[in-house]
C-alpha cells in the first residue's frame, strides 16, 4: 500500500468509526432518557397509588419517594422531574406549584357541602415550612391540621423578623388578616393573606386549601369543586325523584327538596355567589331533617 492509499484508508476508518461511535453515544443517551422516564413514571404511579389508597378512607400519611424528586403540580396533572406528566384529573388537589423532596405529607379529607362531595387532597413537603401568623384563626386552623404536618407552625408576628429559614427549601407565611404588615419579609418567602371574606367562603376546608396551595392550584381546585358538587347534586336530585315515586305519602313530600337540589345544581353550574350557596346548603339540611323527623327515607 502506498502512502496515498494509506491516508485514504485511515480517513475512511476514522470516518466510519466516528459514525459508529456517534450512533452508540446517541443510543446510550436515548436509552438513559428512556430509563429515567420509566423511573419518573414509576414515581408518578407510586404517588397516584398512595393517594388513591388514602382516598378510600379519610387518612393522612408521609409518602416516601425513592429519591429526591421535583414535582410540578398542574390543574389535572403533575410533572415528575420535568420529564414525565402524569394525569389525574379526578383528584382535587391543594398543593404548591413546585415541590422538591423525597418526603411528601399527604392528607385526604372529606369535603361536605352539605352532603359529602369528594375527598380533597392536601399535599406538603417535609422541607417546606408554613408559618401561620398567630391569632385566634391561626390557632383554630392549626388544630384542624393533623399533627403529621410538623412543617406547619403558628408563629408570633414579632418572631417573623428573625425567621430561621435554614433547613427548609421553601417558606410560606399565612396571615389571617390584611392588617398584618409583612413587607419586611425576604422576597423569597411566599406571603398569603386570607381576608375576612374568605371565612364565610363555602367552608373551612377551602381555607385549608389556601394554606397548602398556590393561587393557580387553588383557583383550579375551586373550579373542580363546583363541577363535582354539581354532579353530586344531580345524583341526589335523581334520588329525590326516585324517593318521590316510591316512597312519598302525606307525611313524606320530596317536591321541595327536589326543587332545592335543582337550584343548588344551577348555582354550582353557574358559580353563583357563595352566600346563596350557603343559604341553600342550610335549607337542604333542614329539609332533610324534616324528612327524617317525619319518619321518611332521607335523601342524604
Amino acid at each position: 500500500m502506498n502512502r496515498a492509499q494509506m491516508q485514504v484508508h485511515w480517513i475512511f476508518v476514522i470516518a466510519a468509526g466516528s459514525l459508529i461511535l456517534i450512533f452508540l453515544i446517541g443510543f446510550a443517551v436515548k436509552y438513559n432518557d428512556l430509563q429515567s422516564a420509566k423511573l419518573d413514571a414509576d414515581i408518578a404511579r407510586y404517588i397516584d397509588n398512595a393517594i388513591n389508597g388514602l382516598k378510600v378512607n379519610e387518612q393522612f400519611k408521609i409518602v416516601q419517594l425513592s429519591e429526591i424528586t421535583n414535582l410540578e403540580f398542574g390543574c389535572d396533572d403533575f410533572i415528575v422531574n420535568k420529564n414525565y406528566k402524569h394525569r389525574w384529573p379526578e383528584n382535587i388537589v391543594f398543593a404548591p406549584k413546585n415541590l422538591n423532596g423525597d418526603n411528601l405529607i399527604v392528607w385526604a379529607k372529606k369535603f361536605e357541602l352539605p352532603f359529602a362531595i369528594d375527598k380533597l387532597i392536601f399535599i406538603s413537603e417535609v422541607n417546606s415550612k408554613i408559618y401561620l401568623v398567630d391569632d385566634i384563626y391561626a390557632r383554630e386552623f392549626k388544630s384542624y391540621i393533623p399533627s403529621i404536618f410538623n412543617n406547619i407552625e403558628v408563629i408570633d408576628i414579632g418572631a417573623l423578623s428573625n425567621l430561621d429559614k435554614s433547613g427548609y427549601k421553601k417558606t410560606k407565611v399565612v396571615a389571617f388578616s390584611n392588617s398584618y404588615n409583612l413587607n419586611f419579609l425576604e422576597s423569597d418567602i411566599d406571603i398569603v393573606y386570607i381576608d375576612s371574606d374568605d371565612y364565610a367562603f363555602l367552608s373551612k376546608d377551602l381555607i385549608l386549601g389556601k394554606i397548602f396551595s398556590d393561587e393557580e392550584s387553588f383557583t383550579c381546585s375551586i373550579e373542580k369543586i363546583y363541577e363535582k358538587s354539581s354532579l353530586v347534586a344531580r345524583i341526589y336530585f335523581e334520588k329525590s325523584l326516585y324517593l318521590r315515586d316510591c316512597c312519598s305519602n302525606y307525611r313524606c313530600n320530596y317536591n321541595s327538596i327536589s326543587a332545592l337540589l335543582r337550584s343548588y345544581d344551577n348555582f354550582m353550574t353557574n358559580k353563583i355567589n357563595n352566600n346563596q350557596i350557603n343559604i341553600i346548603k342550610e335549607d337542604l339540611v333542614q329539609k332533610n331533617e324534616v324528612l327524617f323527623g317525619n319518619d321518611c327515607r332521607v335523601v342524604f
Binding site: 485514504v8 459508529i20 344531580r234 335523581e238
Partner: protein, 152 residues
C-alpha cells in the same frame, strides 16, 4: 486489484457486517424494551382496575348515607342519577363496564352503573367483589356483586 484496494474493500465489508449485526441487535432490543413497557402498562391498568373495585363502594356518589353519616353499602336510589352523569367519570373508569348484580335474596337484578366499551379491543377481563346494597324502596339490604369488565 492492488493489495491496498483489497484492504479497503475488506474494511468496508467488516464495517457493513458490523452495522448489519448492530442494527439487528438494536431492533431486537427496541422490540423487547417496547414489549416490556407495554406489559408494564398492562400490569398497571390491571392494578388500577383492582384498585377501582375497592374505590367504587367508597364513592360518595354511590355510597349509602343517612343524615350525613355514611353507611357501608351502595344506595340503589343513587344508581339512576349516577348513570345519567356517568360520562363525566371517564377519567376514573376509562373503558370499562361496571355492573352491580343482586345475588341474594330475590330476583337477581343487574344494574349497569357505567358503560364505555371501546370499538376495538383484544380481550376482556372481569373482576368481581361482594358488597351490600340498600334499596330505599323496600328499606332492605341485599347481597350483591360489584363486577368490573375491563377491556384492553
Amino acid at each position: 486489484m492492488r493489495r491496498g484496494e483489497i484492504q479497503i474493500y475488506e474494511t468496508i465489508l467488516v464495517i457493513f457486517f458490523f452495522v448489519v449485526i448492530f442494527v439487528f441487535g438494536f431492533l431486537f432490543f427496541y422490540k423487547f424494551t417496547l414489549e416490556g413497557i407495554r406489559s408494564d402498562n398492562l400490569d398497571y391498568e390491571e392494578f388500577k382496575s383492582r384498585q377501582l373495585i375497592s374505590y367504587i363502594p367508597s364513592m360518595y356518589e354511590l355510597r349509602c348515607s343517612s343524615m350525613l353519616a355514611e353507611v357501608e353499602c351502595i344506595d340503589l336510589g343513587k344508581i339512576s342519577g349516577f348513570k345519567k352523569v356517568s360520562t363525566a367519570y371517564f377519567d376514573i373508569f376509562g373503558y370499562k363496564r361496571v355492573i352491580i348484580k343482586e345475588v341474594y335474596p330475590g330476583n337477581a337484578q343487574d344494574f349497569i352503573i357505567y358503560e364505555k366499551i371501546p370499538v376495538k379491543y383484544k380481550s376482556k377481563e372481569v373482576i368481581a367483589s361482594p358488597l351490600s346494597i340498600y334499596s330505599p324502596k323496600d328499606d332492605s339490604y341485599k347481597v350483591a356483586k360489584l363486577i368490573i369488565e375491563w377491556y384492553h
